[in-house]
Every structure is written in C-alpha cells, then in structure tokens.
Symmetry: C2
Subunit: 225 residues, 2 copies
C-alpha cells in the first residue's frame, strides 16, 4: 500500500513538472533549480548573481524554505519578482515539489523575464528526488562541509548538471583538499560541470554568469534570438 | 489515504521507539541522538567526545548515513563498538527511524556499555520527526551555517534538549554574530541548553563532557549507583 501511494505521488509530480517545463518554454524562461545544505550559501550566491546579471538577463526567484521570508526579503531589494514558498503548512516538507512550483508560476508576471531561479529547501537529500520542471539542477557545496560529502549524499551529486563549490575564500583557513573533493564529485558523477567560486568575494563568479548567459542563449527558440 | 498510511507509519515508529527506550533502560545505557546539517561536525564532535570520555564512560556509536562507511571507520579506531546504518537500500532515507535502531541494538554487546551515541543522517529537517528511543536530542549547528538557521528550520531546534554551536574557532573569521544566533535559538526554544565549542580544537568541550557524565549519573537506577 505504502509503495503504491508513493509511486502515485511521484508520477503525479512528474506530470506536473512536465507541465511546468512546457509553461516555462512557452514563455522563453530558463529555470535553474538550486539545491544544497543549510548554510552552503545558496541565497548569497543568488544575491551576487542578481547583482552581476543586472542589465544582462532579467530574473525572478522562487524561494523555498520550511519557515520565514528572510531569504525572499534579501532578494526582493534587487527589485525583482520573488515568490516565497513556506513548506511549514505542508507538514514542514523538506523539499519543493512540482505542484508548489506550478502554484508559484501562476503568480509570476512572465513578461520581460529570461531566467527563473528556484532556491530549494536547504537539504542535501530529499530535493534531489523531485523534478520541478527546471531546465538544470545546480548543487551548491561549501568547502566548510568537508571533502567526503559527494560520497555520503550521492543522489544529489549524481543528478546535478553543475556543482558550484562555494566559500573558496575559506579554503586556506579550512585546509580543504580540493583535489580530494573534486575527485569525490567525479566518482559519483563523472561528467558533471564544476565551478569554484566565492559568492561573498565574487571570486570565480564570472564563470557562473557566463555559463548562465550561454545556457540561456542555447535554450531560446531560434526565432527569439 | 496518504495521511492514514503516514499516521500508521508514525505510530509504528513510536511503538518501536518506546521498545528501544525500554531495552536501553533495562541495560542501563543512556542514548543520545545527534542531529545536524551535513558538514556541521557531528563526526568530529564524536571523535573528540570519545577521546575525552576514555576512562570515564564506555560508549558505542550507531552511525547513520545514506551511503559509505567513512564515518564509522573514523570512529572504529577508538576501539569501540560501531554499527553503520546505510539508508541507501531503504530508498536513500533522509533520516534514521526506530526500526533501524532496533536492528542495530540487536547486534550490540550491552555489557560494559554506558552511553550510546546515535549519529543521525546529516539533515536539518526530517530526522526531527522520528523518535528513535533516545534519551535526549542534541543538535549540532556550525557557525558557518549563519545566524538565521533556527528560524528557518524550527522543528529541529524546537525538539532539541541541547544545541551545540560548533566550529567556534571560525567565529572571528566568519564574523558570526553570536548574540543574534543565540537569540534566534531562544526564539524557537526558550528553554533549550546551549554549549559553544570547537570539536576541532577542543575549546569548550569539557562543558559537554561534564554534562554527559551528569546526565548519565542522573539516569542510572539508584541501585546501580
């Protein structure tokens, strides 16, 4: 019984995710699902990203948190559309699902929008299982988390299109062995892209911005270019 | 349907947790459930704890991870009993449940054992919902995670008996505002105990060790003292 129910839930999520992906494509909006542990720097990365994208691409953000609107408030000061999803009324859900995104999409004004960032609930496990209708999955991993996390939380890293290694400014202090960290990421996902940066100092962020612009261009319909 | 199934699951977990608690009490073993984000320093704290407890209290560890035996290997070198639970065969479960603990208890030799540490899966959300039969819940929160985490992940902090603020050696470098962090913990759980320490340097750890010894003494049956 339990398995049937869960399978039905996952199938329903998949259908809704496919609808979300169609809606986004119809409106020429490229969606990025950003996942990672609590405190890995997802919101700080979005702040730096919005700053660096200004005048280049127009973005909106869907913010997922169990509770509070703290992150949405941090991002709203960039004058963009921000939708906050709190999962506490949904049993404190530890991940976003496609239905929550569908609800958020219905409140967004799609005009003049190129990118949609979805900041998932801080969690290195459950969000990996739920397709939201995004076009790519980005994992933010902080050097403060240690080198062995890709091996211990393999699904998240296996599903990622890009791993951003954040807080590179702390690397010296923490004596992080980047060779081991990157080798562990590659063991779980040999073909994943990796960018090292510090969202705080901005070091390495141009690679991420260039990649976003490139992916958005490649995603656009030929007539839209 | 879905709710019924989940309620049944939670009731079954509660029953098994109660049995675990009885088994532990019958054998005069005090159990501590240690929870926190990936990379907050749970295993490093256990390493320091086992080092400092040597000759005082005899401990065993149940290690919960989605995948790998890396943490169990780090702890086995202390010559103690370590049971590794990998949740990957259970659908990559994001938390330990009481049944997993019951299975582990059946493999432990209870003789000459005072303390049982259960290191939960690294996750600041789901493990809070599952009673394992432990005698207390300890949250490890790293200063690298930022000051607002107690507000964003309230259930975990609300259920805690003790919050250990770890990586205090990074406080200066990260410019963590401890006043705000502690005030946020108190907003969610006004009566929770808080210990600031660095599991890496050992700073502040004696408070934690003294507290463990005190709790163990208070827990013992009068005839056992």
């Amino acid at each position: 019984m339990r398995i049937t129910v869960l399978e039905n839930l996952m199938a329903a999520n998949q259908n809704t995710a496919a609808e979300n992906r169609r809606t986004l494509a119809d409106n020429n909006i490229y969606a990025v699902n950003i996942m990672g542990s609590p405190g890995c720097g997802k919101t700080t990365l979005l702040e730096k990203t919005l700053e660096l994208l200004a005048g280049k691409l127009r973005a909106a953000v869907i913010e997922g948190d169990v509770s509070t609107t703290l992150d949405a408030e941090r991002l709203a000061r960039f004058g963009i559309q921000v939708v906050q999803i709190n999962t506490e009324p949904f049993g404190g859900s530890c991940h976003l699902n496609a239905r929550m995104i569908a609800g958020s999409l219905s409140t967004l004004d799609f005009k003049d929008l190129d990118l949609l960032f979805i900041e998932n609930v801080g969690n290195l496990i459950c969000p990996a299982e739920f397709d939201l209708g995004e076009h790519e999955k980005v994992i933010v991993a902080s050097v403060a988390e240690g080198e062995e996390k890709p091996l211990k939380y393999p699904l998240m890293f296996r599903r990622a299109d890009l791993v951003i290694i954040n807080k590179m400014d702390l690397c010296d202090r923490l004596q992080t062995d980047m060779r081991i960290l990157i080798s562990n990421i590659r063991k779980v996902n040999p073909s994943v892209q990796i960018i090292e940066l510090s969202a705080l100092t901005g070091e390495g962020c141009s690679l991420w911005i260039d990649r976003l612009q490139g992916n958005f261009s490649a995603f656009q319909e030929p007539e839209g270019r």
